[in-house]
Symmetry: C2
Subunit: 367 residues, 2 copies
DNA sequence: TTGTAGGCGTTATCAA
DNA sequence: TTGATAACGCCTACAA
């Protein structure tokens, strides 16, 4: 193993001072082209890379970004944070940053994690996920002057920091419009309890799209804590009602999966893959579905209720669920861009930037 | 914001030398108890934490562990690596290590990532996932003398490094035994193409359990690349055959989900949640299933074929799939333990340690 | 048991 | 345009 290549090694090999080498790396314009090229050649030949530890001691910059990795939770939705993390790692690498992970059971623990991480590794900044009303984290970081960006708007909180978010309302509106275009008139919304920021956001898109289409949303919505079982239960209640909806826009793939399970069980219409369809020979497809459609008139597609989820999770893909997809790569890139802006801006007085991205509908079998 | 608390600040505040403070932190036994307590109190009060950057310059240790974060892939199985990453972050924190992330599209890119990361951040070691035959990574790291542990055996490769793995064969064997106990005699195996290490491992557990139970495995297995659609297709072929299996042990939850989709479509028996069951009133449950069972005699539970997956992914939970669960928290802890052993052992001649953990069966609706 | 000196690799300052 | 020097915070000798 070649003993460590330091800036000294390069300087000696190139016959210049260490400072010149440093300049070639950090401020090339200060070095005469010939010298620069020569030194650069030596750097490449030796494979020299500045030590972050030493660099950090001088410059105070670690080129590290702290990110929390969340537990699997119900695992269906939590999944998008893992995908986000992957995208963020790539976006960070583009900007020569690395992601350091930490875990925390709740907001208080997370603030403790900031302190620990900051004191020992001094990351240059943080990317926060899952912001929510009364979130104590932004305030703490703001107080300490620690640079950060959030993936998620400051729901209700003071808007004093850079954030990136996806327009959930636009997503559910697109879903609703898709259903309207398919001939549905009574389109229900299956969401989460109010007050969660994201919950209200996604509901509002459905609501405005309904009104824009001249449809009456009254009585067509239900709210429940996230989960497949809960989705199935609520969907059963909603769809079985005499004048219930013929289609459902859901706030999550979990809820949608539950609803879709119900639809399939009710209609006996498990149409996911061609293989299944051809293999399914002995069954009399559609009887139950027809019985249902007779009592639910109104949808142009009378065969079965439509369901649309949110997040385009792997489950949705596997099961053929139509769903709203968040542009996670773009979100990640925007996070890095805004964070570097905050880093460079330093104490600058320019107001914090915001980015609101639009999700898109992925149409599959369920709607 | 309080200007940085260094070892000097503490020393002054406590009225001792910096060396004493350092000793209190790194070699408490060298300090007189009274002094130690006094200094410790000051440390706590000031919230002092040694700077990793400075510490690393002296000691050469960064207390950083490099881990690759994989893309979402088909997303259903890739998910377990995300869960592993979470557990690893926690286990590492226990041992005062942090996880630094990197991405890489393939093995060659990953080796490049080692070089970059090593040169700039000098992580103390790496945790490798997804080992496979002809994996060039362990050899490279071994050559460079970089400490590492793999989650995954060195399939076919030289066994010269520490590794942790889960006994896949034990998992499929347990699944098979469970089915045998339930009265199944023709138990099929739906796995991946041979040669992938993990593939052969999981197959072998099924095979040995079949033989141990005195059952003939001939013609009861199929192999296909992972995927839900592939699983559905293969399951259709296998289960529809006149003397086909009455139950399926699958190498993954993806395959199992596909198989289960087929089973449900065929039997019209979508029994996931109680809600669905009660809601499903109009349908005549079981006719198709009975028709099937007549032609497939042999299982004690004639109603429908049983399916068992592998990995206990969120999808499995959501859909009620019986599956084999890997003890990821234990794997993560073992990885950290072995890695620290390698770190401490340094050039020691003690042979690399191995840990093989046993998975367990999670019984749900599908078997 | 405690204190002092030196150096890890880098970059900022300043002089040449 | 380039080079010498100091300093970042810590830890390991070594001295007291």
């Amino acid at each position: 193993m070649p003993s460590k290549v330091t800036i000294r090694t390069v300087a000696r090999q190139a016959g210049v001072s260490v400072q010149t080498v440093s300049n070639v790396v950090n401020a090339p314009h200060l070095v005469r082209p010939e010298t620069r090229e020569h030194v650069q050649a030596v750097i490449d030949r030796l494979g020299y890379r500045a030590s972050q530890a030493a660099r950090q001691m001088r410059s105070g910059r670690s080129r590290l970004i702290g990110v929390r990795i969340e537990p699997a939770r119900d695992g269906i939705n939590g999944n998008i944070l893992d995908r986000f993390l992957h995208e963020l790692t790539e976006a960070a690498a583009q900007a020569e940053f690395r992601i350091v992970l930490y875990t925390a059971a709740d907001d208080v623990a997370e603030i403790q994690a900031y302190e620990d991480l900051l004191a020992a590794y001094s990351p240059d900044g943080f990317v926060l996920t899952s912001t929510h009303p009364d979130d104590p984290r932004p305030g703490w970081l703001l107080d300490k002057g620690v640079p950060f960006v959030t993936f998620g708007r400051p729901w209700g909180g003071p808007d004093r920091h850079a954030w990136v978010d996806v327009d959930g309302a636009a997503g559910t509106a697109a879903a609703t419009e898709h259903l309207v275009a398919a001939g549905h008139r009574r389109i229900g919304f299956l969401g989460w309890p109010e007050g969660a920021g994201v919950a209200d956001d996604r509901r509002s898109g459905w609501l405005s799209a309904m009104r824009a289409a001249g449809l009456d949303p009254t009585g067509l919505e239900r709210h429940v804590d996230d989960g497949v079982a809960a989705g199935e239960r609520m969907a059963a209640e909603m769809l079985a009602a005499p004048d219930g909806p013929t289609a459902l826009v859901c706030a999550s793939d979990s809820l949608a999966l539950g609803a879709w399970n119900y639809v399939l069980a009710t209609t006996g219409h498990y149409a996911s893959s061609p293989a299944a369809r051809t293999a399914r020979t002995a069954r009399t497809v559609g009887t139950a579905a027809n019985a249902r459609s007779r009592s639910t008139s109104g949808a142009s597609r009378a065969s079965r209720p439509a369901v649309i989820g949110f997040d385009d999770t792997p489950v949705a893909r596997a099961v053929g669920l139509t769903t709203v997809a968040q542009p996670l790569a773009e979100v990640a890139q925007a996070c890095i861009r805004l964070l570097t802006a905050v880093l460079d801006g330093g104490g600058g007085s320019s107001p914090p930037e915001h980015v609101l991205l639009t999700p898109h509908l992925v149409v599959r079998d369920s709607a």
